[in-house]
């Protein structure tokens, strides 16, 4: 799956602890709901509100990610990083593009467990929960289609 270049690519030094893109990057947007579907939420009792607010979230806010280069692709200086579990997969693709210094016409292909390319809107925490190896979510990447 090819990815389009981020419109607001900024070359800043990353923070040491958690890998980040640009400081002005907003957190992953959840899928907005329509008025028709959110009407029922206006009349929910408080206990139901509270039940929903944190349901299904990972207990830990950060997860470990390990990058593995595919054939013909350079490895990263820092192959293991810690990132927020609420990022969407497109965050990983943008991060990789920046690390690999790809031009806008170059593609990067990312795979989980060397099998499938997750949707750009999939939450990293969900992928980590289902597909981690040990403590790491392993993301293979290549500049040409590989695997699967």
């Amino acid at each position: 799956m090819s990815s389009s270049p981020p419109p607001d690519m900024v070359t800043e030094a990353e923070a040491d602890e958690e890998e980040s893109l640009a400081s002005n990057e907003s957190p992953a947007a959840e899928m907005p709901m329509t008025m028709a579907a959110s009407m029922v939420l206006d009349h929910l009792p408080l206990d139901a509100h509270n039940a929903l607010s944190s349901a299904g979230m990972l207990e830990q806010k950060k997860i470990h990610l390990r990058f593995r280069p595919g054939p013909g692709t350079p490895s990263l200086p820092k192959p293991r990083v810690t990132i927020s579990s609420t990022h969407h997969f497109d965050w990983i693709v943008r991060y990789l593009r920046r690390q690999l210094r790809l031009d806008s016409h170059q593609s990067v292909f990312c795979y989980v467990n060397q099998v499938f390319a997750p949707g750009m809107d999939e939450q990293v925490g969900n992928l980590w929960r289902c597909f981690r190896t040990g403590e790491d979510l392993i993301v293979s990447y290549a500049v040409a289609p590989a695997f699967g």
Binding site: M31, T34, L41, N126
Partner: protein
């Protein structure tokens, strides 16, 4: 007691026969006449995908476009200003966004018509890149998305994803053709291979759960828009005590605060294909009878 294969086949047939009437209008911003053009009316299978409709919509609306050179795959659909994701099945989009109440076993089917046909808007300008993936003229993006979802489901079911990767190219093509033409018989010739890998037993049921997240309005904070959060976890076929895992047990494990009971819906109900699912339904039987074409059970949580 396990449900017989013939009952499971009957339910699967009903799921595949499920359809939705749509009424699609061209957005006035893209329409070159002041008067509204006629809407396009179509009945679509719930398991189908919106991109399959674009060539027909384009043929219908092209004479009215301000910019007639726009290709069919540059169009996008929305409901109440929310862009509809191209890689979600149409029935899932309806259950998430239309605001219709799901039917339950006590319904007599007379009330369901109030929101139908589902009225969508077709747009060509201002493609929402933040929310939608862009399509291509050959339909490769849509197919890639589907195939990757099928592979993801395969990894979840057997831990490796090697069953799908072991299929021949002909089998993969057959499966995609069956999805496009909504041919269940053809689909099952391949799906049977995926769900019954020789020599191994399945571990987990592919499931994604869609949760409404309610904005709790604080005074002075302004209105926060409600959104939908997807939760995914591994759902084993069997519990630790080798009992068949039920939907209620799975939801109670993954979303304890929303489903505090394994047996009864207290705050919310699980919905598949527009219908409330009994909490006691074994997840393996649900997978075989009511999975979407990508192999996942896309469960919508509806608050009571």
């Amino acid at each position: 007691m396990a449900t017989s294969p013939s009952i499971i086949a009957k339910i699967q047939r009903k799921v595949w026969d499920g359809s939705l009437p749509l009424e699609i209008r061209l957005a006035s911003a893209d329409c070159r006449t002041y008067d509204e053009t006629d809407p396009y009316l179509v009945n679509v299978p719930r398991l189908s995908y919106l991109p399959f409709l674009l060539p027909r919509l384009h043929a219908f609306f092209a004479p009215n476009l301000i910019n007639p050179s726009m290709p069919p795959h540059s169009a996008w659909l929305s409901f109440q200003n929310v862009a509809l994701k191209y890689h979600y099945p149409i029935g899932l989009l309806y259950d998430l966004f239309s605001g219709s109440q799901p039917s339950d076993s006590e319904d007599d089917g007379t009330e369901e018509a109030e929101n139908l046909p589902w009225k969508l808007e077709l747009r060509y300008s201002e493609f929402p890149r933040e929310q939608l993936m862009e399509l291509d003229a050959e339909g490769k993006v849509v197919r890639d998305c589907y195939v990757n979802a099928v592979k993801e489901a395969d990894v979840i079911r057997n831990g490796k994803g090697n069953v799908y990767l072991g299929l021949s190219q002909v089998d993969c093509d057959t499966q995609w053709q069956a999805v496009q033409s909504q041919n269940l018989q053809k689909f099952n010739t391949i799906n049977t291979k995926l769900l019954n890998p020789p020599g191994t037993s399945l571990r987990n049921v592919p499931m994604k759960i869609y949760l409404p997240t309610a904005p709790i309005s604080n005074p002075g904070d302004g209105e926060v828009q409600a959104s939908i959060r997807t939760v995914q976890d591994l759902v084993p076929l069997f519990s630790a005590s080798r009992q068949a895992n039920t939907l209620g047990m799975a939801l109670n494990t993954i979303l304890k605060t929303v489903f505090p009971s394994r047996r009864n819906p207290v705050l919310a109900s699980p919905v598949l294909h527009g219908a409330v699912v009994p909490m006691s339904a074994p997840v393996e039987e649900l997978m075989r009878a009511a999975a979407f074409a990508d192999g996942f059970l896309h469960v919508v949580v509806v608050m009571l």
